[in-house]
């Protein structure tokens, strides 16, 4: 055997062995390997895509504008404090991203400039309207996206999903992928909860409080808000508690008149844990404030004994217990007839922190596990039948040479799976289709060669030279055909979404490997045959 051919065979052998090693983790055989193998050899093969494994793919938009508004609100509150401390009378109002201060004066302008250089005056007159500068607004939005990313990641870490993917996309979008998640609805709720925790004092002293109805039906909140909009004092607001009757399941909403300004907020929490109330066997969430929070909590409770303190999450009142006495030590409880899961999720969300801005869901793809299994089975079946059909056809039409082509085909499949495993590529359902298509196209190169060889034989050449010249002439055509498929595969990879990217990957790999097996593999076999016998006739 010529040396060149021997080297080619060795190359093929090595690649096959490598392919098997890389692909082993995807087969049941991996379990039976000895421990030393499992430690040193690759243990992660092809990764199943979401559409095969089941799971969740979400795209969120971080509503940066709201983050800017929230920041404006915080600035406004602080300014109000500063004005009070300096004994300046002014009314500070927030309208969206704008802060309106009236009346204006030189001292007020000075205070604003000294403390918030990023506030730009917009408009003049007796009232000054300030707005956060564009540059600062952009910075806030960018930070909000980063912070949202971190918060979501924290929440999901605690939720416990294997191998989640959480990344930023573009300016203000976040992509979350949770493979194999069992309860998609719960996961979505967990991620999307803004989790803005606030403690606000209930204003029982105002006359308006007595006029509020005891409870209303859900859906009537808008009516109540409109009715009382002008009557309530300017620093108060109305929020609702949801009460579910344990026996009938009927839902009522209870209005509360509250001070707008929050006495405490969730960022002062240091921990939130789930506990079970022994009396009613109901889970509740116990909160611990940090040092600063504990101090504020102590002050509030000391100054407002016998008044009610409402615990509010995302603008919904959860409970409003009466402050019996000053509370030191910074511990509080949130009760609300939670299920164990609800309590757990609430504690996760409070621990991970509030989202800096609301999330708007742009895309949600949920694949149940059963579809994934069905798809894999279908893919396997189609692949098997397709491959067998092609193999039989090749033998029938090209006889022994057909067998050689089939050997190249099988080599193709083995190397393709190995290559994908070595890259830890993601296999999607279109990806399986890509593999099967590559099988169909794989034979093409061999057909090109065989037809050429037949031409040469017909022209009267000897079998040996027919093989060689058929091969050489077919080479460039084979090369061209593969490049054209690679062009479209590259485009699909660049612009396609997840499953389509998977298709592009398998198609590209399949086509490239096919170049290798056709040019190296099939040729070697013919060379061996050529060198061993004096070919009088070519079985083609």
């Amino acid at each position: 055997m010529k040396k060149k051919v021997l080297w080619k065979l060795i190359l093929i052998g090595v690649t096959v062995v490598l392919a098997v090693i890389f692909f082993l983790p995807n087969t049941p055989a991996f379990k039976y390997m000895p421990d030393w193998w499992k430690k040193t050899m690759p243990d992660k093969g092809i990764v199943l895509g979401l559409d095969l494994q089941g799971g969740l793919h979400l795209v969120f938009e971080v509503e940066g504008d709201k983050a800017v508004e929230i920041t404006a609100g915080r600035y406004a509150a602080r300014l109000q404090d500063l004005f009070a401390k300096k004994k300046l009378t002014a009314e500070v109002n927030v309208n969206g991203p704008d802060i309106t201060i009236s009346p204006s004066s030189a001292e007020i302008k000075q205070v604003v400039e000294d403390n918030y250089s990023t506030l730009m005056p917009v408009g003049t007159g007796n009232k000054i309207v300030y707005r956060i500068s564009d540059k600062e607004a952009r910075r806030i939005k960018d930070n909000a996206a980063d912070q949202a990313l971190e918060t979501i990641r924290n929440r999901i870490d605690q939720f416990g999903v294997a191998e989640p993917t959480i990344v930023r996309q573009g300016e203000n979008e976040i992509v979350v992928q949770l493979p194999g998640v069992k309860d998609p609805k719960r996961a979505i709720d967990l991620i999307g909860k803004t989790a803005q925790l606030e403690f606000k004092l209930v204003d029982d002293e105002s006359k308006v409080a007595a006029e509020l109805p005891q409870s209303i039906a859900p859906g009537e909140e808008e009516d109540i808000l409109r009715k009382f909009a002008d009557k309530i004092p300017p620093d108060d607001e109305i929020l609702f508690e949801k009460r579910v009757n344990a026996e009938t399941g009927a839902v009522r909403k209870v209005p509360f008149l509250l001070k707008k300004q929050a006495s405490l907020t969730g960022d002062l929490l240091s921990d939130a844990k789930v506990n079970i109330d022994t009396r009613f066997s109901e889970p509740y969430v116990s909160l611990s404030f940090n040092e600063a929070g504990a101090k504020v909590f102590e002050e509030i409770t000391a100054e407002n004994v016998k008044k009610r303190l409402a615990i509010i999450l995302d603008n919904t009142v959860y409970s409003a217990p009466v402050i019996q006495e000053k509370i030191s030590g910074g511990n509080a409880q949130i009760t609300g007839h939670f299920s164990m899961e609800e309590a757990k999720d609430l504690s996760i969300v409070l621990r991970a922190g509030a989202l800096p801005a609301p999330l708007k869901m742009l895309q949600n793809v949920t694949v149940g596990p059963s579809l994934g299994m069905d798809s894999i089975e279908a893919g396997k079946m189609a692949g098997l039948i397709g491959t067998i059909a092609v193999i039989i056809f090749m033998i029938f039409y090209y006889r022994l040479s057909g067998v050689i082509a089939d050997f190249a085909l099988l080599l193709n499949i083995v190397l393709l799976l190995g290559a994908m495993a070595s890259l830890n590529a993601t296999l999607t359902l279109p990806g399986i289709a890509g593999i099967i298509l590559a099988v169909g196209m794989a034979v093409d190169s061999n057909v090109l060669m065989f037809e050429r060889m037949r031409d040469e034989l017909r022209a009267g050449k000897t079998p040996r030279s027919a093989v060689d010249s058929g091969y050489d002439k077919a080479f460039w055509t084979i090369f061209d055909s593969h490049v054209t498929t690679l062009i479209t595969a590259a485009v699909l990879f660049q612009f396609g979404t997840g499953p389509i990217k998977g298709f592009a990957v398998t198609l590209s790999l399949g086509v490239t490997i096919n170049l290798f097996t056709a040019l190296v593999g099939t040729k070697s076999v013919f060379d061996i045959i050529n060198s061993k016998h004096d070919l009088k006739k070519l079985s083609i």
């Binding site: 949600n364 149940g368 099967i436 057909v447 389509i500």
Partner: protein, 303 residues
């Protein structure tokens, strides 16, 4: 040797006028379909139009009209149903988009639970796409097609001549438009996976065309004294076997996918089957006549 057709000698180019008419019709349908897609009047999948698609797997068989009635009673308009009776699966597509993506799927699942209380179901998959993402996917698909066309043009121009780059691109485009048109006529959904199939068909059809061009060029060099038309005819006849066999193998695997691959890639397989058939036809009856008409006295003659 088993041969498909012994020493074929079919006058392909003689039939080029009929071929042009036939192709013209196919392309016209395709262009019409493209316009309909661009203006949103075709059966656009939620990939492009936005909306919610939920696939249910029921325990027992469920009638499509019963589901339709239940959904209509529940207040849903503008939806589409597709059933897979062999596996008790039903795909419900609600076009048009709420601002709150979760609401639609909740509404649908509630309606179904109430309407068919003793037929339990499992949600195979649910996809909700808001208008922003839908618009982006549409734009991406358009870009993909544009880049593919440019890539093909450059490559063939580089391997042959610019004129034939254009010719090959036209032939490829012809195939893509033909499949798109056929899908439009069949009322099939136009979505991202179809675009994937179309691009794959494009790549595959181009391969075919290039093989034919290759052979024509080679023969024109050798057979200097024969007419261009005769050389083309004989070249095509020479590669006829190879073209048909290759198409056959891809067709076999595509049919396997179509019959056994499951409902998700069912339409993709159909597009591949149609694409392969049209692609083979175009390599023989469209690409070469274009070279003949445009090629001048001696095509492929490198100056």
């Amino acid at each position: 040797m088993i041969e498909l057709i012994k020493n074929p000698n079919i006058n392909f180019l003689g039939r080029k006028n009929i071929a042009f008419i036939f192709s013209g019709i196919l392309v016209a349908i395709g262009i019409f379909a493209m316009v309909q897609v661009a203006t949103g009047r075709a059966n656009l999948g939620i990939d492009f139009a936005g909306g919610t698609a939920i696939q249910f797997k029921f325990e027992k068989p469920v009638a499509m009209h019963a589901v339709r009635l239940a959904l209509e009673k529940g207040g849903l308009k503008d939806f589409d149903l597709q059933e897979f009776p062999a596996v008790n699966k039903m795909l419900i597509r609600v076009k048009n988009t709420e601002t709150d993506l979760g609401k639609v799927s909740d509404a649908v699942t509630n309606i179904l639970s109430q309407a068919f209380p003793d037929n339990k179901y499992v949600i195979d998959s649910s996809t909700s796409i808001g208008p922003k993402v839908g618009g982006r996917l549409k734009a991406d698909a358009a870009k993909a097609i544009a880049f593919a066309v440019v890539g093909i043009l450059i490559y063939v121009a580089f391997r042959f001549q610019f004129k034939f780059g254009v010719g090959a691109t036209i032939a490829t485009f012809h195939d893509v438009l033909a499949v798109l048109g056929l899908f439009y006529l069949m009322g099939k959904e136009i979505n991202l996976i179809l675009v994937t199939a179309l691009l794959t068909v494009a790549g595959y059809s181009l391969t075919d065309t290039v093989v034919v061009f290759d052979r024509i060029r080679e023969n024109l060099k050798i057979k200097q004294r024969e007419s261009v038309e005769a050389v083309m005819n004989s070249s095509i006849n020479e590669v006829l076997s190879r073209t048909i066999i290759t198409s056959a193998t891809v067709l076999i695997t595509s049919i396997a996918l179509f019959l056994f691959g499951g409902e998700v890639i069912h339409d993709f397989a159909l597009a591949m089957i149609l694409g392969v058939i049209v692609g083979t036809y175009s390599s023989i009856f469209v690409a070469s006549p274009i070279v003949l008409v445009w090629g001048g006295k001696r095509p492929f003659a490198k100056t």
